[in-house]
């Protein structure tokens, strides 16, 4: 089996040494009027380069820009759309991280590229392929509030977000993104809404061109919805195994028609995975599901960990792969 290593999405933008605190320092100075926007951008550039370098050094095959420029997974995208203003703080799922909630008047509209420049910068600075990552329309809509209220308001938001992100996917595909990842953690909290979710994803997939489209779900148990996820028009399916003790067996018994991104390394806890135990899970998956090719990844973005631990986690991916390949041979 070909087992590739990839980052999930985010990566810490801060560390313990002064060089890795550049962005926090610069933004604080910007807030006091002591630095310019250009200085903030330069600090973001620098931290993006550091994030890319650490992923490369860890031996990953597919990296991300670390989402260093994102205020949060919701407002970074929604806030760039017309008809949307960004409001107060809300907790992001069950984390201790907070996002600013978009307030949507009517239908959100995309007037300019959302992530294209960020993707181009990262790809230019990386010798490895960079995965473009977007929060999906369903999650954006679930964490926004429609000024008009009611289910009509939700549907209008969802349609607007879907159209905006479909256009962004087309732009990223044209810009050379080999893999475009759609993150939809909210799906696992609204399983009954799968038909509506499927319509959104189908609309996104129409614009992927030759890029590989990845759907990633996390922060919940995907076992119950696994068969439905397999029906979606995506190339890669990313799963968080930390929320579901049943998921390994579920995947092993059902198999897969998609390339799987196996989130077996906990992106939320500092405890390092035992390579032997994780390799055993991989064996069960590989044999049971008949995998020819898969990605091994953290279960979610790594920004929930301190930088030293995030770095250990991505290095651990390589240890796990070596252990797994050793066990196969």
């Amino acid at each position: 089996m070909e087992l590739m290593l990839c980052n999930h999405s985010s990566y810490p933008r801060i560390g313990d040494d002064p060089d890795r605190q550049l962005l926090r320092r610069t933004i604080a100075q910007y807030d006091k009027g002591e630095k310019t926007e250009e200085a903030v951008r330069a600090a973001q550039d620098r931290m993006t380069e550091l994030a890319l370098a650490e992923q490369t050094e860890a031996g990953l095959d597919l990296v991300t820009d670390g989402q260093i420029r994102w205020a949060d997974p919701i407002s970074h995208l929604a806030g760039k759309l017309s008809g949307v203003r960004v409001n107060g703080l809300l907790r992001f799922f069950d984390t201790n991280f907070y996002f600013r909630q978009p307030v949507v008047q009517g239908r959100p509209e995309r007037r300019e590229p959302l992530l294209l420049e960020e993707f181009r910068f990262a790809q230019e600075k990386s010798a490895l392929p960079v995965k473009a990552v977007l929060t999906g329309p369903y999650t954006l809509a679930r964490y926004s509030v429609a000024e008009s209220g009611g289910s009509g308001g939700f549907d209008e938001m969802l349609e607007g977000y879907t159209a905006a992100l479909a256009a962004e996917i087309a732009a990223l595909a044209a810009g050379g993104a080999a893999v475009i990842q759609i993150e939809e953690p909210a799906l696992l909290r609204y399983l009954d809404d799968f038909p509506r979710f499927e319509r959104c994803l189908t609309a996104l997939a129409m614009n992927k061109d030759s890029s590989q489209l990845a759907l990633v779900v996390y922060f919940g148990d995907a076992a119950a919805v696994y068969d439905q996820l397999q029906t979606l028009p995506v190339d890669i399916l990313g799963l968080d195994f930390t929320y579901s003790p049943r998921l390994v067996d579920r995947v092993a018994s059902s198999g897969t028609a998609r390339t799987l991104m196996l989130g077996l390394v906990d992106g939320r806890n500092t405890r390092l995975e035992d390579p032997v135990a994780t390799a055993r899970q991989l064996e069960i998956l590989a044999r049971g599901a008949g995998l020819n090719r898969a990605y091994l990844s953290p279960s979610c973005g790594l920004e929930y960990l301190p930088r030293d631990r995030a770095r250990q986690k991505i290095r651990q991916l390589a240890f796990i792969r070596n252990t797994f390949l050793g066990s196969l041979s």
Binding site: P12, R13, I14, G15, D16, R24, I27, A28, D31, A71, D72, G88, L89, L90, R91, D94, N96, F97, Y98, F99, R100, N269, T270, R271, E303, Y304, L305, P306, R307, D308, R309
Partner: protein, 335 residues
């Protein structure tokens, strides 16, 4: 209603008692002292002197404003979880992680068995009590939140870690009660995050409070209350301190559907906005509370701790809270 309980404890409060959630911003002189201490320019004693001055500043400020139930302001704490982690055995300091925007905190790691060896907050509570005659809350972060906001390496699962914390933190509550604390706030902002774990949080709160002669408050904020209400009413506390303004008072709708049965510390100003709410707006929020909750059950405060505001913003927001309480007292006390 817990007015009788308060009176039984010897505490008589006006209608709409004004309090605050706990933290106040560190004045500039303390920020400088902390920076000097971090860079080895001053000794520990000099830092503690500045912390005492800042505590006294906020005690006097609360008295001047007309706050009814005071807090020590927590200016000696860095972060509400890290502070306890630093003072309990079993934790090691974790690196920085982001909480929102450009805000970061050091998330602790539970790397060994948790153990309470000596009081953590007691000396500060005693110091603050010594400089005011007003009721003063004892302030702790709760076991569920400390567990949830820590990385867990030692214990096999979250429940085991949470209950181990509760068992040890009860000793802190007992120490406060023994010293005379009558009102104790156990902050559990994380409790609304994983609804399926509410029974664990309730079990832990029983360990913390059962059989102790005090009026207990729990601060909960920034979560999906729809999923834990009315189940959260089973938490063995007398008063929930809730962030109401930031969420557009939408919890009142939940209370209309299923009766709210405890006292409430009703957040009437947004703690994470620089904007100072005007008096009519704050009064309006309080009036809306009165439509759903009996007046005797309502306390008034900001949504959350004010430590992220400037000193001037925090004072202005507290002034708005006091003004609203006074205005409503004037029109409701005789009804």
């Amino acid at each position: 209603m817990s007015r009788a309980k308060l009176q039984g404890l010897g505490i008589d409060l006006p209608l709409f008692p004004v309090t605050s959630v706990g933290s106040f911003p560190k004045p500039d002189f303390l920020l400088k002292a902390r920076a000097d201490y971090a860079n080895n320019r001053i000794r520990r004693g000099a830092l503690e002197k500045a912390e005492r001055q800042a505590t006294e500043f906020w005690i006097r400020k609360q008295e001047e404003l007309g706050v009814d139930v005071l807090v020590d302001g927590e200016v000696y704490r860095g972060d509400m979880v890290a502070y306890f982690a630093e003072n309990l055995e079993g934790f090691e300091e974790g690196g920085l992680v982001r909480s929102y925007g450009n805000r970061y905190y050091q998330k602790p790691i539970i790397s060994d068995e948790i153990r309470w060896d000596e009081p953590i907050t007691l000396e500060w509570w005693k110091y603050a009590r010594g400089i005011t005659k007003k009721p003063l809350k004892g302030m702790l972060t709760g076991p569920y939140t400390i567990m949830d906001w820590s990385f867990i390496e030692y214990y096999p699962d979250r429940r085991t870690a949470c209950l181990a914390l509760a068992k040890e933190l009860r000793k802190e509550v007992e120490a406060l009660v023994e010293e005379g604390a009558k009102i104790i706030q156990i902050d559990e902002p994380a409790i609304s995050v994983r609804p399926e774990e509410l029974p664990v949080a309730i079990e832990a709160m029983h360990i913390m409070t059962d059989g102790l002669p005090a009026y207990f408050i729990s601060h909960i904020c920034y979560g999906d209350f729809e999923k834990i209400y009315p189940g959260m009413l089973d938490l063995p506390v007398d008063n929930f301190d809730l962030e109401m303004s930031n969420s557009g008072l939408d919890m009142l709708e939940l209370f209309k559907r299923s009766s709210y049965t405890k006292d409430i510390s009703f957040g009437v100003v947004d703690s994470h906005s620089h904007e100072i709410e005007n008096d009519p707006l704050v009064e309006q929020r309080l009036r809306q509370a009165l439509e759903v909750i009996p007046k005797e059950a309502i306390w008034v405060d900001p949504d959350c701790g004010l430590k992220t505001r400037t000193v001037d913003e925090a004072i202005a927001k507290m002034q708005a809270v006091v003004n609203a309480a006074r205005a409503l007292r004037a029109v409701t006390s005789d009804k």
